[in-house]
Chain length 474, copies 4
């Protein structure tokens, strides 16, 4: 175990100091959901490129084979000629054993078999409730949350028991309520949630900056935003590059109606090409022109928090947004896995994710301020205490301290408040395993504008199809 | 002027005491909007039946003729053989003169000519945004609020100048934001807003009580509710009659799906018969079964605060609710007025409104606790300070003190919070005369689920059609 | 059991109605601490004079003989020729049996043997910390609270188990934290705390009114105050009689320095005559002239909440206040008890306490609004939730609803906030049985201005002398 | 003007970038109170040692000669052989001219002639109210605040008019209320307050760390504290060095009663030697052992916020604390000024103050997180909005963002809340120029435990002696 979990040593340990200064700091990471096709490999890649860390990575997944496959891939990663360090990668037989002696715990799970996403996405669609992602809010978000409730309380309980001093990073969606569930009963856990959506907004602005100022596209980290809100529905209260205020420039481009001309054709082509994740940021821009602050997540997430854009696929396409379909999710998860050779033959490039930087900063090895998800202790003024909000935090040695969020315009704040309210009732539902409250949380989504009796039928159909994981709910 | 506005008299005035004890208390009432077809006559009727009051009623309306007509009708009222007291009824030539020496001020105006209601109701309908009333929230509510902003600030200012000690009762909709505008800049005004919607809920329950307990239909005042929320979107946290909890009984009837069988035929007949105000309380009951608290206003109001019932007329009719059409509003207002004889030949019956009871209680002549609208100082826990909320208040001599609202279930509270947020941004818009904020308030209505660009076109059309009254807005 | 604890009866019980209308309502009262020399007799007297109630009173006291003595006295009370009703008075052998079937529970105990008051009062005095009462705040208040912690949690637990629907009235000091302890773990308990200190303020003002207005001394209930604060440190934001504002008149008398001329001689005589409870209200008046609101409790209580008047006995006497000494407390409690004959030979007069009125109002037999102590749900804006505050509440059938407190001037509010903070940390100490927190609560008292090390020695001496009751504390 | 005040330049200025990268950034600093004997010279010294800055420093002081003297001294500083950069130092003839084109404004004034400190310190002493500093709280703090009210509102108004984009650093005491006054009416000002008291706590701990871990005394910046509170009454919720928790070690030393053995002799010697600023940190340690968090300001400040240590000089000395006497303040200010030669002949050493670092960080030239004073927007959870609190803030280019304060133990929080309340009423007094409220603020100080009538006499004496500066107060 590294120093962050050390108990008090009244005399300074020169050995530890030496190891940190001259060499690499040794840590153990437990990865829950370690069979993930995407996230585990990304993490290993960034670890391999760390100048500061070495140690052990222990993968735990209920799909044992998936974890084993990643263990095999690990070899390609850490033996890659560009790798700067070495991690032993093991597969754990139990959650407890993965967590033992962990300095860091990463949680990135899929709650239930992938075909449960059918219930999340396809049943609502049949009732006329469309979703672009369906993992955070609305019918799909509520169902995922219900399936996560028991799991995350178990994760929290086990971490508290086995490695209470470890730092826990959650990547699982619905981010806010899953992270909140970790803390339920264990308020002293050192956990937070992470998401990369804001990076996309920075990158989009970096491209605009290149045009506006006639320079090379700057690094996304040069774009300074004042972020706050809830995960996937964050807003920027300001945007600056090199001290230049970018909002007046955004004002100019969004005042031009042409920017908002129908993108239906683009969207159609995109859908045909199965390019689900690129976008035009028209929703972000539309929120900007209506509310004076910039929506700072991908459009496919933003549209799910307001009632205006998802009345139909045609409407959605008009804004250049496509919905990630269930069919593709199924295909991607059940298709063939990445082969060893694929990794070995490609250059080992930083993924742009921040997990490894965060660990280094918590170990005192670098400075970092970034946006993360934490229970509100006041960092989002006006939001209730305990709600998980996304704001900046300063990472220092063994400490993650939220910054106070900048003030957003009243209209943006109102929309965030509504997402907060929905989260609040969903969290209550999860704590109580209450179907009634879960249904109220679903009704609280602006996507659900069908009559309550039809909504209830839809909800019960979804519950029925996934009931194997909802045994505690009543 | 009566004793409530008296300045300190260091030695007790025996004369005043005598007059109050042995005879009737003399007051002056100023009625702003005194040409109202309905409300002025109702007030005069209740005044005529008062055992405690006498004095002067001064009517002020920008439609001078309408006020004069009511002055003439007053004779029939106060000379009616059942009248118990006498009021001199005058028509004021200016707001100031109406207010001079007033002990009570009643505000009950129509903001603008009746054909402005075309913009409020018909333009949104063309864009697919239906409203049942359109005077409180949604497009119609926002537009009325915009037209009221300058008027109510002027009323507040003039009252502060001319009769700062007078008690002000507002009946005008949108109730909450109009009442709030009165206080803007004059926080010490003794004003509150009144509405009779809760009475309807009590009467509905009284009928149920008669069935359930096999008794005569009790008086509505025997139905004890725990009311709170915002005007037209109040909820009952409990309901009791003679100490009996009525919620388990409501539970029984709303568990029966048959109660919610389609009322489309009834609604159709009702619409044909132009019976706009009766209803089945299915929406109130649906909110009860979904959220565990009873919606305590007419269904035509309740449906405007949630996104579930107003997707189309057919859907609305299914719940037994009809929308009051613009055509009828026009007809009623421009048709022939009530004749003198009509009043003289009918018995003089209490209207069931509470204005006169409230005045008597403020004069110390009776005790009264009832639901009214006041800026929140904490009576609705969790709602921001200053927002106008509807809760109980205890009326005593020269004092109106809110009771703390009972706790509602989380889901009901969430819905009220959203109405509060909408009110908050609408109030800000009114204070700033800001078109941008007014549009944001419109978007904040759950009724507006059309795309933002179409909503903006709709908004600007509405503004354009009523721009004669929106000179200060930009 | 009376109707307030009835479960739902779907058909209205005519029998019950009849009994209530034609005869007296039958109730059972459990009296915890029923050996009290004063309070039990007062309650019995008021019960005997009730036009509405009859039933059973069951006394429970760990001093069984004391309770038996009161049972004997009861005969004199209820057989008194002026008695209007009859109560059977029993002595319970256990808390559970006293509570069984109770409609009302009254708690009025002395926490520990009377000689524990030596620790509360005499040890601090030796350290230079003087107290006038020492039962609410300061060293004595903290020690009493410590001795009450376990007892009141037990009362709460047993009531929850045996008679969860009963209404509980607490008279025990320290009022606020004892009442709070009842609710710990049982937030749905129907309990409140009562105190008569405000009555004294009303009576004092009634006498002033007689002078000011040249009338007979009015009833104290004619003096309308706007009360709020915490028990024994309540303030009036306004005072009115018959609509007359009394504050300008108070202003006149308190502007006169002569009013504040030394009352040392009076106080000395009072102390010699052992008249501990009368007073000049100079402290109430001094708070009024300094802070613009009237201290609304006896001066002996008020002085304990601020650091200005208790630096020595001479200083205290200057303000006409005397401190109730330990010696008298001892003497009163250990002296001979009231004899039967004493009661029979005196007229049976209402005591002026409100317990019986409150019970009648809760039974729906009269209307009542009065000041009581309840956990803050928002009725004292700005004070934390859960703190027990004293404000008005409206009593209706089976319901006690707080009114929102009127706004006090900033300076008065600051002083109340400090008392609230002290209560808050004392409550935390009680919940945790933490000596450290209890000592912090003692330091938080403005009476404790001695150095912390000396204060700690004092505290530990007090703990040591009463340790027999502090077994759970550490 | 530097880039922080630049308005939008749509095309990136290569010139500016170049100048920043290759050379030094040019800024203008306005120094209000520029005749200060100490602070102006300190600032110039740190400026002279800056690797990043050059430009102009304009001094404004109502004592024109004092400013001129500093202008002359500037030559020694900037021509010093160790100086790394150059600043032109000018003396401004008016506040407006000093502020014109300023990028930074520093405010460090003495409110009134030094002999006004006689009223602040000596009059209270005569009434038995002792103060160690008397510039922040208690009688002296209140009087200084009263003298600052008009000045700081004028500073705010003029900055808003002349250089609204400039960053303003206030060093004047009473820090909190002076900084608050700047914002009154100008909430968008970019101002904050700075104080070095926490540095002393870090240095004290650094020395302890050297002992505990047997290492060289580390730099104070290696001591990581979790600071929050109000200026001069800040507390550390935790203390770490190199990841080691220092609180258990503090626990050990403060458990030893010997640490608290009387320091009366030391203090006496210190007083004789006129060493007013060194100390034993016994008060900080005593607060630590009583409340579980470390008082993080000098003892002479800490003792003024609680009622326990200042009952007399002997008591104070026992804790090793000395009071800075009026006589010394007078002497220091009226004695001979520093001579040119003094500076030239000494090495030019960094003062340890952070002003220049803060300016560099605001210019984007370094990263910095430090404790500063800002109006509360939520960074000190539980404290009212607008109160000026001391917490950490992250300095980035043109942005100063507060971090959310760590949670303190309940008892420490209670004491801070009381200081907050005192500040709140004092701020209100300043805004209203109200003698009544100012007196209430004085009574709110725990140092004032004398009877209210004597306190009032004291207050009026102080007002009388300084009335030349209190013309607006009534």
């Amino acid at each position: 175990m590294s120093d962050i979990t050390r108990t008090l040593t009244p005399v300074y340990s020169n050995k530890e100091s030496a190891s940190r200064v001259s060499g690499k700091t040794e840590i153990k990471i437990a990865y829950i959901g370690g069979g993930s096709r995407e996230w585990a490999i990304k993490l290993m890649t960034d670890l391999a490129l760390s100048e500061h860390l070495k140690g052990t990575l222990e993968l735990y997944d209920i799909d044992h084979n998936a974890a084993r496959h990643n263990q095999i891939l690990a070899e390609s990663v850490f033996k890659h000629e560009q790798a700067l360090t070495q991690f032993d990668v093991a597969v754990a037989s139990s959650l407890e054993s993965a967590l033992r002696d962990a300095d860091f715990v990463i949680i990135s799970i899929e709650p239930g078999p992938i075909n449960y996403r059918h219930a999340d996405l396809e049943i609502p669609a049949r009732y006329g409730v469309l979703q672009t992602v369906g993992d955070t809010t609305g019918p799909g978000g509520v169902m995922r949350a219900m399936r996560c409730a028991t799991l995350f309380e178990q994760f929290g309980r086990t971490i508290e028991k086995v490695c209470p001093q470890a730092w826990v990073i959650n990547y699982t969606n619905p981010m806010a309520v899953c992270t909140a569930s970790l803390f339920r009963g264990y308020p002293d856990l050192k956990a937070f949630g992470c998401c990369h959506e804001v990076f996309g907004t920075q990158e989009m602005l970096a491209k605009r900056v290149a045009e506006w100022f006639d320079v090379e596209i700057p690094s996304r980290t040069e774009i300074k935003l004042d972020i706050s809100g809830v995960n996937h529905f964050t807003w920027a209260a300001s945007a600056r590059w090199q001290g230049n205020d970018l909002f007046p420039l955004l004002d100019q481009i969004t005042s031009n109606e042409e920017l908002f001309a129908s993108k239906a054709n683009d969207a159609l082509k995109q859908a045909e090409a199965k390019k689900w994740f690129s976008g035009h940021y028209l929703i972000a821009f539309d929120l900007f022109r209506r509310f004076g602050a910039l929506g700072a997540a991908g459009d496919r997430h933003l549209v799910e928090f307001v009632p205006w854009y998802l009345s139909g696929m045609a409407e959605l396409y008009r804004w250049g947004v496509v919905a990630t379909p269930y069919s593709w999710r199924l295909e991607r998860t059940t298709g063939p896995r990445k082969a060893l050779a694929e990794i070995a033959n490609q250059p080992l490039a930083s993924t742009g994710e921040e997990g490894v930087l965060q660990m280094e900063a918590i170990l005192g090895l670098r400075s970092l301020t970034t946006n993360i998800n934490l229970p509100n202790r006041g960092q989002l003024p006006g939001a209730p205490k305990g709600i998980v909000v996304e704001t900046y935090a300063e990472f220092t040695r063994n400490s993650v301290r939220p910054l106070l969020a900048a003030q957003l315009p009243a209209g943006a704040r109102l929309l965030i408040d509504r997402a907060v309210q929905e989260q609040s009732i969903l969290s209550e539902a999860m704590a109580a395993r209450s179907l009634d409250l879960a249904f109220q949380a679903m009704l609280a989504s602006p996507l659900v504008t069908i009559p309550t009796d039809k909504a209830y039928a839809m909800f019960m159909e979804m519950v029925d199809e996934t009931k194997a994981m909802l045994g505690e709910w009543e």
